[in-house]
Point group: C2
Chain length 332, copies 2
């Protein structure tokens, strides 16, 4: 492991690895300036989100650097997806620990480049420093949505259906698999789950379609756990919700785990890091929403309804409410 | 010192201390959402800047929390001033170490509130986590400037005069004073310099006037040291500059230090953290620029000229070029 003595200077590092990532953003001025300029598109509202990631808290320091980079972008891209915004660009800060060498940076930049291409975004600016503590990264992503069309948490109304994309619980069990905590798991399932944790799939295309076409009354991404995030949506919307647990979409890997130990369904539903979308869709727009999901290649299912009574209930196959010890993920 | 056991949960912390800071930004949605929305003002270009700060590297962990908060904002506000932008809002991430208690957060939020009022900005969003390492903060500031009017580094032309605001070198000697490294300094001078380091004065009002009225060909803030930043401006503008060192504005405290040891002028000119503006102003706009400085209550002086020959020269009273060992501040 090379110490920071082997790392090129700040300006060289930026010129070599980060400036190419800003090539498509003229306002980034080749990262040679203290600030970036951006001409906002007319008629659009901008959407901003930011996340701080610390090694061995939000990712493993030993994770491949390109995947760390991509997850950093993707968890922010998921926030933009939750608002229905088209991602535009990002600013990033990196506080590099002593063990970071040039190869690490090169691979990290490679991951950024890969997801920049996949999501059509560019690096607008940033700050590169060192730290005596754990490697720390932040990204601030900027997106745009037609003015007034951003999905919000507070628009759900009683009678709206609850739709969820992808599969739920992969984030929770994926972290466990990634940490080697599920030793009994068959290798393909372990690899699938770990991959889902390490490289979530932000539902950007569908989020945009739903916002632009006005198909969802409320929407957000599932990052703190389905139970907690749905509770947030209910609270903001001043209503409640009833979820049929059997309808919650599970991957085969998680379904197998739950089949072996039914109590694990609680972990799937309260665990974080899924980065799927949860949506409130009125019955008369369900067909259009499902159509948008099809067009964007996104799996989506209905799992319940919003209700007048301000309580969030998860019902089992026998219509009995389930109680969860833990409402969801918090950062402390 | 209370450990994180004494800290309220993430959501309580946000609701109690950070949400009030977002009250004036409707798009921040009370910080209850994953992302903030913002309707950009018509005809304006947005300006973005971000900085990562780590305890005992960029500030002292023992510094008063309100001053840490204000410096974090101010060094970013200075970047906006360097572009001539009006500050609008910011996103912030906080990775809190184990020693942070609620009183610290309360005081930190108080500092944010104070500078939000002084610079007319609001908190748009953020992320609050904990860290096993040193306290780490980032801020991303967003400002606006009339489209096409942003000050840049690359507009200086031979013949333009070099103007500098405030005084140079206070940041360098202020850090030394703040660290107790200048024991012979009289107490008022020590306090003045430390204060200049801890609470720089971003030249936002003047920057805006210069950009809006088109009075500067190029401009930037002096954060890496006058020598380095002027070198950046020369490189971007493909020209050189000649600076009369005797004309570089010094505070009384720094002037006294330099009088006692003339070699210290090098530290004043190459040291970082001044957060003043350096500007390229054509001769026929000098009067208007000085007038703008007067109106905005900003001290400003002419220290030299940009020249054809692509070399940056600092000349002493006898017109002899000075050589500096260290070109300026880098983060490694």
């Amino acid at each position: 492991m090379a110490g920071k003595g082997k790392l090129p200077g700040e300006f060289d590092l930026i010129a070599r690895y980060f400036a190419p990532l800003a090539a498509k953003a003229p306002g980034a001025l080749g990262l040679k300036d203290d600030a970036a300029t951006f001409q906002p598109p007319a008629g659009m509202e901008l959407v901003f989100t930011t996340d701080a990631l610390t090694a061995d808290l939000h990712f493993l320091r030993s994770d491949p650097p390109d995947l760390i980079a991509r997850k950093m972008l993707r968890q922010n891209l998921s926030d933009l997806a939750g608002k229905g915004a088209k991602p535009l660009g990002y600013l990033m800060t990196t506080a590099l620990d002593d063990g970071i060498d040039e190869a690490w940076i090169a691979k990290f930049a490679e991951g950024l480049a890969q997801d920049q291409a996949e999501f059509d975004i560019a690096l607008w600016g940033g700050d590169t420093t060192s730290t005596p503590g754990p490697l720390a990264l932040t990204a601030t992503l900027i997106g745009a949505v037609p003015a007034g069309r951003a999905l919000r948490r507070n628009g759900a109304r009683p009678g709206d259906r609850i739709l969820v994309t992808g599969t739920i619980g992969d984030g929770f069990f994926g972290l466990a698999a990634h940490r080697g905590e599920l030793p009994d798991l068959a290798e393909p399932a372990r690899r699938f789950l770990a991959q889902r944790y390490v490289l979530p799939q932000p539902r950007v295309a569908l989020g945009r379609m739903l916002a632009e076409q006005g198909l969802a009354q409320a929407g957000m991404d599932v990052s703190d756990g389905l139970a907690a995030d749905l509770a947030h949506m209910c609270a903001a919307s001043h209503c409640g919700a009833r979820v049929e647990v059997a309808a919650v979409p599970l991957s085969d890997a998680v379904a197998d785990l739950v089949a072996a130990d039914p109590a694990l369904i609680a972990s799937a539903i309260t665990g974080g890091d899924d980065y799927e979308l949860v949506l409130a869709v009125p019955p008369d727009r369900i067909a259009a929403a499902l159509d948008a999901a099809r067009q964007s290649g996104t799996a989506i299912v209905e799992i319940g309804s919003f209700v007048q009574e301000s309580r969030l209930t998860f019902l089992d196959r026998d219509n009995r409410p389930l109680a969860f010890e833990k409402a969801g993920f918090t950062h402390f």
